[in-house]
């Protein structure tokens, strides 16, 4: 009797472990996408809805250079990141900067327009098919106890962690990083102090373009690449960033992972039919109880 109970308990534990591993894999994708939102928000306080499109472009360029043109993975990686970085800069120069009376809301709507435009061009350039990307180091699954994970998922988790550390150091300890945050909080005061606000915004678009590309490149072997992949990824990444606290780098990571694990647990333990609903219910609960997110700082306004 006891051994039977133990058997059920053990197999339940095994399942739980796999749900957790699945959730972490998925969460790392949300986390790295969410980071892109954080960078632009940190320097402009606008939410860049074209972030998902940066991810898509990264994946598409990688497929083109690596799978179609046959360049080695590291070279394709670098070229793809630079290509999307340039697209990020162009977005700032061509459509954000020329706006006459920029308000947050008008800029956000402009990014939605940019996202639709990029998606349309991508559809013409890469057609409406799915494209397969080559995994970095094979497809042989790796066992963690009784659970299994693909090598590519480890790449995603690893690169996300590296990016997290680098970004945290950048925003907290470098002059440029601090300048970017200052430009968001008060652009006028920042420019009075000699910070070149426009340049900070430009850097943030370049950086989030590059980061989006990295995200797209590393997840493409798991998710495949298609012109409209950015929409759902952007939404989930944004969701994760909001749960963690918009504007906080560790927050975006924690939020993304939390969302992934919750989805996997929900799908495994409750019902896979309600997977997305569970994620959005959690988002609502967090917003009700802690509107600034888990790690977000309360907003202070002095009058």
């Amino acid at each position: 009797m006891f051994s039977l109970f133990l058997y059920f308990f053990m197999s339940f534990f095994d399942q739980l472990l796999q749900f957790f591993v699945s959730g972490v894999t998925q969460g790392s994708i949300y986390a790295i996408v969410g980071l892109g939102f954080t960078i632009i928000y940190n320097s402009t306080e606008i939410i860049n809805f074209a972030q998902g499109e940066f991810v898509m472009l990264g994946a598409m360029f990688m497929v083109t250079f690596n799978a179609a043109l046959g360049l080695p993975i590291p070279i394709s990686f670098v070229i793809s990141v630079i290509a999307v970085l340039i697209i990020g800069i162009l977005i700032d120069l061509l459509i954000i900067r020329p706006v006459r009376k920029p308000t947050h809301i008008s800029l956000i709507i402009i990014t939605i327009g940019a996202s639709i435009f990029i998606k349309g061009v991508a559809m013409l350039a890469w057609k409406k098919d799915y494209h397969a990307a080559t995994p970095f180091s094979g497809e042989k699954p790796i066992s963690i106890g009784t659970a299994a994970i693909t090598p590519q998922a480890l790449w995603v988790i690893g690169i996300t962690c590296v990016v997290l550390v680098l970004l945290h150091l950048f925003f907290e300890y470098t002059d440029t990083g601090k300048g970017m945050r200052a430009s968001a909080i008060n652009p006028k005061a920042a420019s009075l102090l000699g910070i070149r606000v426009k340049r900070m915004v430009l850097i943030s678009f370049a950086l989030s373009g590059a980061l989006g590309a990295v995200a797209g490149i590393i997840i493409a072997p798991i998710t495949f690449a298609i012109y409209n992949m950015g929409v759902m990824l952007g939404l989930k990444g944004f969701c994760g960033a909001v749960i963690g606290g918009l504007g906080s780098v560790p927050g975006a990571i924690i939020g993304g992972f939390a969302l992934g694990v919750l989805e996997a647990m929900g799908a495994g333990l409750i019902s896979s039919a309600y997977k997305d609903a569970i994620a959005f219910v959690v988002l609502l609960l967090v917003l009700f109880m802690r509107p600034t997110g888990i790690l977000g700082k309360g907003e202070m306004k002095r009058v």
Binding site: S11, Q15, Q18, F19, V21, S22, G23, T25, Q26, I29, K128, D129, Y130, H131, A132, E139, P141, A148, I149, T150, I219, I222, T223, F224, I226, M229, V231, M232, E263, A264, M265, A267, G268, S272, A273, K275, D276
Partner: protein, 391 residues
């Protein structure tokens, strides 16, 4: 400044010239003197279902071109008028009305999607124009509507075919994993409805979102049951991810897929994980493997040849075949009926032993699909990245 204005003017001219060129209708070859027979088409040529609409439009135009070059129908050329509903059901209704009232068509082929077809049925029945749909849902022809026909195989038949295989191979306990959209839900409904009759027990029932990228959680649950096979019902990319995740989790039971993934694209994106998968599919995908005795072989070879010659670089898909079959049956019926909608409808309903792309059609007043399971589907297995017919 002046240069800019000129540039702008130039651009406007170029764009409007482009629009003019594309809006010109194709004229039938001049040697046919009879009054043209106008047939309308409504397909999702652009938008999310463009993978259906584009080959359908191409096939319909190609069919008309070939008939006209061979002397038309009793000396009358076929003229096709095709509109794009962009995947939107509201557009389908408007365009069907336009075809009937403005273009005065004898019959309509399409729409591409089940939802869109279901929403135009009221108009069709009211205006009394024969419609041959290219959409899959069994609800289009069951119950039978007087003016509505369809050519694609239904998921009822696909499920029947898979269960036939299970019964023959002694599989009684299965797990199902379906995509949460119209296609997956309809498949799930059929899988559950036909299970008791085939003596099959569904021990796990999971689903996934159409844009989900990881199904390991669902498969872990399935792995914990005593299922002897998994049936996955969806369209790309979900089923490919299910296949990959099964390799990752080392799930050893066989995976069955629906006809929704019967395209080379599936093997391309699923890679090695595709090997061993079994699915029912239309014969078009294995044309070269069909035995010489198969009556459809000649039709399929011909279609493949003319299509790939006319549209270089593109490969025939099962979807274009639906429009081809629809046109062929309408053309055959027109030979007898002449330009009369009611008589044309009656003739389409009398179609017997039409050997088409997707099976051998026998329409009756009770069956407006006219397909039987033996000619409509073959069971395929993917081996070393190739489709292989299994018995």
């Amino acid at each position: 400044m002046k240069g800019r204005k000129l540039l702008f003017l130039g651009l406007v001219l170029i764009i409007s010239a482009g629009l003019l060129v594309t809006s010109c209708e194709k004229k039938p070859p001049p040697e046919l003197t009879g009054e043209p027979y106008v047939i309308g088409g409504v397909f999702s040529v652009t938008g999310r279902a463009s993978f259906l609409g584009e080959p359908e439009k191409n096939s319909m135009e190609l069919f008309a071109e070939i008939v006209n070059s061979e002397g038309g129908i009793n000396g009358h050329p076929i003229e096709v008028v095709i509109y794009d509903d962009e995947g939107d059901a509201t557009n389908s209704v408007t365009l069907v009305k336009k075809l009937i009232e403005k273009d005065n068509v004898l019959a309509i082929v399409g729409p591409s999607l089940s939802g869109n077809t279901l929403s135009v049925i009221d108009v069709i029945e009211e205006k009394e124009v024969p419609l041959v749909s290219c959409a899959a849902s069994v609800k289009i022809t069951e119950p039978v509507k007087k003016w509505v026909f369809k050519t694609p195989q239904t998921d009822v038949m696909a499920v029947e075919k898979i269960y036939e295989y299970f019964v023959a191979n002694g599989i009684t306990k299965i797990a199902i994993i379906t995509v949460a959209n119209g296609y997956g839900d309809s498949g799930k409904e059929q899988l559950k409805a036909q299970a008791p009759g085939a003596g099959i027990e569904i021990v796990a029932e999971e689903s996934f979102g159409s844009e989900d990228t990881d199904m390991t959680a669902q498969l872990t649950v399935i792995k914990g049951t005593d299922a002897e096979a998994i049936v996955c019902w969806g369209t790309n990319p979900g089923p490919a991810i299910v296949a990959k995740n099964m390799v990752q989790l080392d799930v050893q039971i066989p995976l069955f897929q629906s006809h929704g993934v019967a395209s080379p694209k599936f093997i391309e994106i699923a890679g090695d994980a595709a090997n061993g998968i079994i699915l029912p599919a239309g014969k078009i995908i294995v044309t070269d493997q069909l035995p010489k005795s198969d009556p459809q072989r000649k039709v399929l070879m011909h279609y493949k040849e003319v299509y790939e010659e006319k549209f270089p670089g593109s490969k025939v898909s099962s979807f274009g075949g639906h429009a081809w079959d629809a046109m062929a049956m309408i053309a055959e019926a027109l030979k007898v009926s002449g330009p009369d909608r009611a008589m044309l409808r009656d003739e389409i309903e009398k179609t017997t032993d039409y050997i088409g792309i997707h099976g051998i059609f026998n329409m009756t007043p009770e069956d407006h699909n006219g397909l039987n399971i033996d000619s409509a589907f073959v069971m395929l297995k993917i081996e070393n990245g190739e489709w292989v017919i299994i018995e």
